[in-house]
């Protein structure tokens, strides 16, 4: 049974059929949630308007740039915090607190300082991305298994060797988790910000169609975002499994 009809596909078909039925019966107002058939038509419309491929690339570009900044700044910072216990402890609770703080609320501030440009979106995304990477890099470095360290010592490893051959590789899985989190958070924040300030890629597309009261197209955009997120998570899962030693 599973081979011919994966549960996820069945669930989708059931939900879509249900919504289509409810919409046609007039039980759900079209102004709020159009029928799936209308949303599909909206999907074709936005693709034809050129509002699908390029904005997706813009959004992903912004999120990837933000994550890259997070990686370049976060990994060294996390490692340094792991090796400087006093600083690590000093900033530990701050980082934890900032991790889920409403950074996106600062957008009016960033708007007036950095103006309505991609830079604002990328910088705000970078702030969201760098935090989990710093936290995870530090955690990974702090929890190198004692066994591995002992092995290094028995080989008279120099500090340099101890870092590059033992500690850092042991911290990689944790760092990879951090990068995964960073990518997801920066993507969510990027799209949300684009929606709020009506600028950028997919978030702006949704905001524009919302402003013009093209509700089916707006939902098509939302569906596109959800579909892309699902695809991205699946991809990350594969990559993570490949990187993780068996």
């Amino acid at each position: 049974m599973k081979r011919f009809a994966p549960p996820a596909a069945i669930a989708l078909i059931v939900v879509v059929a249900l919504l289509e039925g409810l919409a046609r019966a007039g039980l759900i107002p079209a102004t709020v949630l159009p029928a799936p058939s209308a949303i599909a038509a909206g999907f074709i419309d936005i693709a034809r308007n050129g509002d699908l491929v390029v904005p997706t690339l813009i959004t992903f570009g912004e999120a990837l740039a933000a994550t890259l900044i997070g990686v370049l700044a976060g990994i060294p910072a996390g490692i340094w915090l792991a090796r400087s216990p006093a600083f690590g402890q000093a900033y530990e609770s701050w980082l934890g607190g900032l991790f889920a703080a409403p950074i996106v609320l600062l957008y009016p501030l960033f708007l007036v300082v950095f103006h309505r440009t991609n830079a604002t979106i990328i910088i705000m995304g970078a702030i969201t991305a760098v935090l989990p990477i710093i936290i995870q890099a530090r955690t990974g470095m702090l929890h190198v298994p004692g066994v591995l360290k002992a092995v290094g010592q028995s080989f008279n490893a120099t500090p340099r060797q101890a870092f590059w051959l033992i500690a850092f590789p042991a911290a990689v899985p944790s760092i990879v988790t951090g990068i995964r989190l960073a990518l997801i958070y920066s993507l969510v924040n990027t799209i949300g910000l684009e929606f709020l300030i009506d600028f950028g890629g997919l978030g702006r597309v949704i905001s524009d169609y919302y402003a013009q009261y093209d509700i089916p197209q707006m939902y098509a955009g939302i569906v596109a975002i959800v579909a892309i997120s699902v695809a991205l998570l699946w991809l990350l899962d594969r990559v993570e499994r490949r990187l993780r030693p068996a």
């Binding site: 006093a86 000093a90 607190g97 009016p108 007036v112 949300g192 975002i225």
Partner: protein, 252 residues
């Protein structure tokens, strides 16, 4: 210097450094003066804000919206998480979509919230609940899958009824996951509620922020944002400490 004093000194010097750097930026005229007011102006605005009764009425509204949304999200998340974790076919059917919607910014569901709950505080609570639901549900679902089968067998060997299993076996084993999910969810609930207030409201601390922005009362906007951050970070740290204490208690 003892470890603790060293840590404190670092924190104090860091804060002082950040404040000094900001003041330098404000005076350097690199940016338009209107958007980087001197620290003194911000401090004055902050004190004025604390003395204004309107601050507290707005704060109360937002806190109520966040609290209601958060509680509903936790309850719903635990329920759904247990359901999904316990039934593999359900997880395969619904899991990918939960992950996908979890990764979408919840502010885009703002029109649905307005339809179902009107323009007042309930719709903001709904957005907060929607935002916080996913971390709880997903963390709990993952934890249910990892429940020690020994515990389950012990419960079964006592012929425990379904409700007894839930109360005495599943829930206690899930507490750390629930607390972890709550920690992730609280931050998202705060964001969801405040962004909803920015989009449509007439009260709340998020509304206050955007109102000050619209009238270009920038020092006041800084002050309100500082207050929001102090409260949000404080709440996060509190739950974080709860989580650490839970972990320590179980390690014994």
């Amino acid at each position: 210097m003892t470890e603790r004093r060293r840590v404190f000194a670092i924190q104090a010097i860091t804060i002082a450094g950040i404040l000094a750097a900001y003041e330098l930026l404000a005076r350097s005229h690199l940016l338009y003066a209107g958007v980087v007011p001197p620290l003194f102006d911000i401090a004055v605005a902050f004190v004025a804000m604390l003395g204004d009764p309107a601050t507290y009425t707005n704060l109360a509204v937002s806190l109520a919206e966040i609290a209601v949304g958060f509680v509903l999200a936790t309850a719903g998340g635990v329920l759904v998480g247990i359901l999904i974790g316990a039934r593999p076919w359900l997880r395969e059917a619904v899991g990918p979509y939960l992950d996908g919607i979890a990764a979408a910014p919840k502010i885009v569901f703002f029109p649905i919230a307005i339809l179902l709950f009107g323009v007042g505080p309930p719709s903001k609570a709904a957005l907060g609940a929607l935002s916080a639901f996913f971390p709880v549900a997903l963390t709990v679902a993952a934890a249910v899958r990892r429940i020690n089968p020994v515990l389950v067998r012990v419960g079964r060997s006592f012929n425990a009824s379904r409700s007894q299993m839930i109360a005495k076996v599943y829930l206690p084993a899930l507490v750390p996951a629930i607390v972890n999910g709550m920690r992730l969810g609280l931050g998202l609930a705060i964001i969801g509620v405040l962004l909803g207030e920015i989009k449509l409201s007439d009260r709340g601390i998020g509304f206050l922020t955007i109102d000050e922005y619209n009238h270009f009362r920038i020092p006041q906007m800084y002050a309100t944002l500082i207050l929001i951050f102090i409260l949000a970070v404080g709440a996060n740290m509190l739950i974080g400490r709860l989580e650490t204490r839970e972990r320590a208690r179980r390690a014994k």
